[in-house]
Symmetry: C2
Subunit: 190 residues, 2 copies
């Protein structure tokens, strides 16, 4: 998606060989114009897919996930993060490791909100190593739902997350795919 | 807003004399139809007010704040919560006490995203004792911006937050105002 690549080149800040800050338009300040362009792209990619619900994880994925759900006319659910395992029969939980932050979170969804045979589209801001994605896909599986796709606004393809997701037969769609950071600039996949 | 009151009566769960769970349509699962009705109401109330930006706090306020920002054609900023004070000259921070949870959070916004003389509308899911609201208003003041209004989807008027906000000359608009929970049911202001 050339539009998003342009915004990333103009407004993203490359902190090192692995980290891109997008806090002026996605992660802290949110630019609806950019979010709506990303939404257009995702909705177009999945226009022939039946989708019952959109799932994301708090926090930065929420605006995009909300926008996609609104456009599709379905509900959105955001998984919550907690520091530790929760003792509660009414929730599904998965441990998710963040390599960027060096933390382990427990990611939870109330059982009421992932239902058997639901067709769920996962939407998030970033795809890096795929740990959060796999955690969310596993939550869908625990509820007997089917994850019909994973959408990321920005994929860092050199971190390998896509393979893990595709190995679960879940199609991946990213609005911008960065194959490396070279001389402090993102280089996009052709 | 009668539509929202109806949804609250149908789908909200009163846990005790102070806590209403709205996790089937706002707080965990998000129903875009309800969020858009709330957005319509807020936008109508502020149709004669110049607004440069929408501010909220992670996490549950994000979908409504995003929707309002999209409608107004302005950017949205979400303040972040951390456990402890952060040493960073590039952020504004405020301590916010949550009586519901018995916790104290440090709420932060990067200085880049609250600018002098900006006219900011704050949007959140709940107004209870007003602590988060006051924290956000103080963040606006620290940046030299003007908070032109505070919008809550659901206000629990018996917890007194409105007075604190109005004492700062910030108008308060709530889509539904609960004056008490009686026999396990919310009772709305006329």
């Amino acid at each position: 998606m050339k539009q998003l690549e342009k915004v990333i080149l103009e407004k993203g800040r490359v902190l090192n060989d692995e980290v891109l800050k997008v806090d002026s338009f996605i992660n802290h300040q949110v630019d609806p114009e950019v979010i709506e362009q990303i939404t257009d792209y995702f909705v177009e990619q999945f226009k022939d897919t039946k989708i019952d619900k959109v799932l994301t994880i708090e926090t930065s994925g929420l605006p995009i996930a909300y926008s996609v759900a609104l456009r599709l006319g379905v509900k959105m659910v955001f998984a919550k993060k907690s520091k530790s395992q929760i003792v509660d029969d009414n929730i599904y939980q998965e441990e998710v490791r963040s390599f960027t932050r060096g933390t382990v979170s427990n990611v939870t969804v109330a059982k009421n909100y992932i239902l058997k045979d639901e067709r769920i589209l996962i939407v998030d801001d970033f795809l890096a190593m795929g740990n959060a994605a796999i955690g969310l896909i596993n939550l869908c599986e625990k509820g007997g739902a089917k994850c019909v796709g994973f959408c990321a606004a920005i994929e860092k393809s050199f971190q390998g997350g896509r393979k893990l997701i595709e190995a679960k037969n879940v199609p991946v769609v990213s609005a911008a795919i960065i194959k490396s950071f070279t001389n402090g600039k993102p280089v996009f996949e052709e």
